[in-house]
């Protein structure tokens, strides 16, 4: 696979201690990649380095073999949807979408772009009159209208209310897949990343910890950070870890659904039960005082009951320095 979009050793130093990168990442044509990480992990900086709003101190960005590292944003032909959409308040919807287009044929392309996001006929509306979901779609239409090579989305769903968010997520994925445009998408929500991304790059403290599909990240996390940031995880050290089969000095990560109540194993008392319908989460306190989360059938245990825990699958990691 030759990469359509290639980041090689991209580094941005902010202050003394805060550095993003070096990040190396290859993205195929038409691929939808999510950048997932906690706040301050550098995912937005990475997106802005791609867009050209920041210039890296080292490394290179290439699109289709063309070097764009120092190209100003205006000449990159990358579309971007901003977190708060950045719609121009002095222009109507049509003029917003037409902003990046040449005069000739703009009208037709604006209509086409608006039809794409299901806002046909909205040209003369003022952006202030639109709902949050509509504003988000106008921002998307505006970014797509000039037919960019790469689409960059900066937490585009974070300003929508939860019910709208899930529907918009599906529509966004369907649209982007239909257009076949290479897309990078920043989020701090695992659900969003899992739902949208073909692949997910997990970032922590400016570095890419792991890149892979959702299954791989969940089942075969490369680092302790990925294991705990992606999905629910019990982290065990010392004696309880060894009781579940860890070697000396290892940290053990166990998913709640990989623990089950048995006749022997790690002993403890059920302190809490949180019912979710199909299953229940049980908080088990071990003799050492650790709390473990177990996902099991709703009637698997009662609060106050003494239980033993067995692990079906554990993820061992070396203790990070």
């Amino acid at each position: 696979m030759t990469a359509f979009l290639a980041l090689a050793g991209v580094t941005k130093r902010w202050a003394h201690e805060v550095t993003v990168g070096p990040v190396t990442l290859d993205i195929a044509r038409g691929e939808f990649v999510a950048l997932l990480g906690p706040s301050g992990s550098g995912k937005t900086t990475l997106l802005r380095l791609l867009a050209g709003f920041e210039t890296p101190d080292a490394g290179s960005v290439q699109v289709e073999g063309e070097e764009v590292t120092r190209l100003p944003p205006a000449r990159r032909r990358f579309g971007m949807v901003f977190q708060h959409y950045a719609l121009f308040p002095h222009l109507d919807v049509g003029a917003n979408v037409a902003f990046g287009l040449a005069k000739t044929g703009a009208e037709r392309r604006v209509a086409a772009a608006l039809a794409l996001v299901d806002l046909a006929g909205f040209e003369r509306r003022r952006v202030q009159e639109l709902s949050g979901g509509q504003q988000q779609r106008v921002a998307l239409a505006r970014a797509l209208a000039p037919e960019p090579r790469v689409l960059l989305l900066d937490e585009p769903l974070s300003n929508l209310d939860p019910t709208l968010r899930e529907r918009t997520r599906r529509e966004l994925r369907a649209l982007i897949k239909r257009l076949g445009i290479t897309t990078l998408f920043v989020t701090h929500e695992q659900d969003e990343a899992f739902d949208l991304g073909d692949r997910i790059a997990v970032l922590s403290r400016g570095r890419v910890e792991q890149v892979g599909t959702a299954d791989v990240l969940y089942e075969q996390p490369a680092t302790l950070f990925v294991a705990t940031f992606v999905g629910r995880a019990n982290v065990l050290r010392g004696a309880p870890a060894q009781a579940l089969g860890a070697a000396n000095g290892q940290v053990l990560v166990v998913r709640p659904e990989r623990l089950r109540f048995g006749a022997k194993g790690l002993g403890g008392v059920v302190r809490e039960r949180r019912y979710t319908g199909a299953a229940a989460f049980f908080q088990v306190e071990t003799e050492g005082g650790e709390r473990l989360e177990v996902l099991a059938a709703p009637d698997a245990a009662r609060v106050g009951e003494r239980v033993h825990l067995e692990a079906v699958k554990v993820l061992p990691f070396a203790e990070p320095r």
Binding site: P72, M80, F82, A86, F88, F99, G100
Partner: protein, 544 residues
């Protein structure tokens, strides 16, 4: 209607009537006076009148253009670039604001006038027999206007730029727009409310400007000087027609500029942060920017320094030399020791203080009534009446009050106040209303109504809640509005020259008479005192 609601409506009605009597009534009377008699015909017949009216308009337009040409680039420079001394210079650059208009004008006279420092230096240097230039006519007026009014564009543009959302600019770039296209299609349109606000303020200030045309006009007349000349010539009927003409120009201009202002919802969508300042990296560029900045600040400070130096010149000691041969504090000593000299200072202080206090009291009453307690049909007249004096030049109000309170008709609510000491401070109150009113109404608007309700739920009565919650929260607004009003009244010249009497002659009038008898040192000393008091009061008012 409950008793409490009835009380509010009664209070609103009383306040509306008081404001209408103070603000609207004199203007209407002048309008009626002007419509009677043959003064209109006389006005229309004389070409000089039309020339003065036209001069007022084009001088104001040119002042807007000059102030914008200086103020807007400076605002971009200080808001978007980072260079050594940016913060210090950024505040120095607003210094012309502490020079009251008339004091600024005499400082220019001492500095750039035909016998000023610069002219003397050039004359000496080139060995000329005559001063190299005369500071007179339209060019001189525009020079003073550009100096004193670019500050409005500078401050408004900076405020607008600070509110600008960086992601708007980035969005434009991501869509392929280069820096110039972004400036033209995004930045400037987004700044439009700020720029229109500054343009309006400069136009109105220039239209009402009196000191610069009065001192530098020579044969060049604008409407404000024309009105005062007619009044001093005893042609009161003609003065009223001229006043109405000037007022009409002001109102038309206000309406036109308001229309281009656009809506203030422009920023409603912006939630982002202002763009980061760009560091100037190359040492040569940094040095150049800093040097240009300091040089500019020095030029801006020259009038202040000039005033200070001239105030130290004893009477009759400075004749042909470039710099005064002797300096001493004798002018200040005379000023403080001679009761006749001290009187104008005390007059100005008490009139400024009293008129500011009255304007604040009215603004507070209006704010308390207007804010959420009144039905809409009461709010609007109160707010309009408070803002009206701002829309009309000071000369207009001076003439209107002089005409209104020159007759004794108690049934028409007119008494003879001309020639008494109360008329001038009353005029200051009217002129101060928009300053205190705007600040206090905005201050009320920023207070969460839930706070007073919280005070009420904790057992505080209406007065207690006002005193212990609202008033402390309003303090910054009161300080800001009050300091502006105090400084405006203290340095006023245009109203004073029409309405003063010997017993309440203010500083600006005393400066003028000192100049007449060539006591430039005393005039400058008064100017320095005005400047220092203004700077101190503005400094206190700007503190948070």
């Amino acid at each position: 209607m409950t008793a409490r609601e009835r009380g509010r409506v009664l209070a609103a009605a009383a306040l509306t009537l008081l404001l209408a009597w103070l603000v609207l009534y004199p203007i209407l009377l002048v309008g009626v006076d002007a419509a009677h008699g043959d003064a209109i015909a006389a006005f229309a017949r004389r070409p000089g009148e039309w020339q003065a009216l036209w001069a007022s308009v084009w001088i104001s337009l040119a002042s807007v253009a000059l102030a914008a040409a200086i103020g807007i680039p400076l605002a971009f420079l200080f808001e978007w670039l980072e260079f050594p001394g940016r913060k210090t210079l950024g505040s120095l650059i607003a210094l012309p604001a502490v020079l009251p208009p008339f004091v600024g004008v005499i400082a220019f006279l001492f500095l750039y006038g035909e016998s000023g420092f610069v002219a003397r230096a050039v004359q000496q240097l080139l060995g000329l027999a005559e001063p190299p230039w005369r500071l007179q006519g339209a060019g001189a007026i525009l020079l003073v206007h550009a100096y004193s009014m670019y500050v409005y564009f500078y401050l408004f543009t900076r405020a607008g730029l600070a509110k600008l959302d960086a992601s708007m600019l980035e969005a434009a770039q991501a869509l392929g727009a280069g820096p110039w296209v972004t400036l033209r299609r995004v930045t400037l349109p987004l700044l439009r409310p700020s720029l229109a606000g500054a343009a309006l303020l400069v136009f109105m200030t220039a239209l009402g400007s009196f000191s610069a045309p009065y001192v530098f006009g020579g044969g060049f007349r604008v409407m404000t000087t024309q009105i005062v000349a007619s009044k001093l010539n005893g042609e009161l009927a003609l003065a009223t027609v001229e006043t109405v003409a000037l007022a009409l120009v002001a109102i038309v201009a206000l309406a036109l500029i308001r229309r281009t202002e656009g809506s203030d919802v422009l920023f409603a969508l912006g939630k982002g942060i202002a763009p980061r300042r760009r560091q100037l990296r190359r040492p040569a560029v940094r040095g150049l920017a800093a040097a240009a900045g300091w040089l500019f600040a020095f030029v801006l400070l020259l009038p202040h320094l000039t005033l200070l130096l001239v105030s130290l010149v004893p009477y009759g000691t400075w004749t042909t030399e470039t710099l005064p041969p002797q300096v001493s504090l004798v002018n200040y000593q005379r000023l403080l020791a001679e009761p006749d000299r001290l009187a104008p200072l005390l007059n100005s202080l008490w009139m400024a203080a009293a008129s500011t206090a009255a304007a604040i009291a009215i603004a507070l009453a209006a704010g308390a009534l207007v804010r959420r307690r009144l039905p809409w049909r009461w709010r609007s007249p109160i707010e309009t009446l408070i803002a009206l004096p701002w829309a009309l030049p000071g000369t207009v109000f001076a003439i209107a009050l002089a005409a209104t309170f020159a007759v004794h008709e108690p049934l028409a609510l007119r008494w003879v106040l001309v020639g008494t000491v109360v008329l001038l401070p009353l005029a200051y109150v009217v002129r101060n209303l928009p300053l205190t009113g705007r600040a206090v109404l905005a201050g009320f608007g920023q207070i969460d109504p839930a706070l007073e309700e919280a005070a009420a739920s904790l057992g505080a009565g209406r007065w207690t809640a006002f005193r212990r919650v609202t008033l402390p929260l309003l303090k910054p607004a009161l300080m800001a509005g009050g300091s502006l009003a105090f400084v405006a009244a203290l340095g006023d010249f245009v109203t004073s020259i029409v309405l003063y009497t010997y017993d309440n002659r203010p500083i600006s009038i005393e400066i003028m008479s000192s100049l007449r008898v060539n006591e430039i040192g005393v005039a400058a000393a008064f100017g320095v005192i005005l400047m220092l008091v203004s700077a101190a009061v503005l400094g206190v008012g700007a503190r948070r």
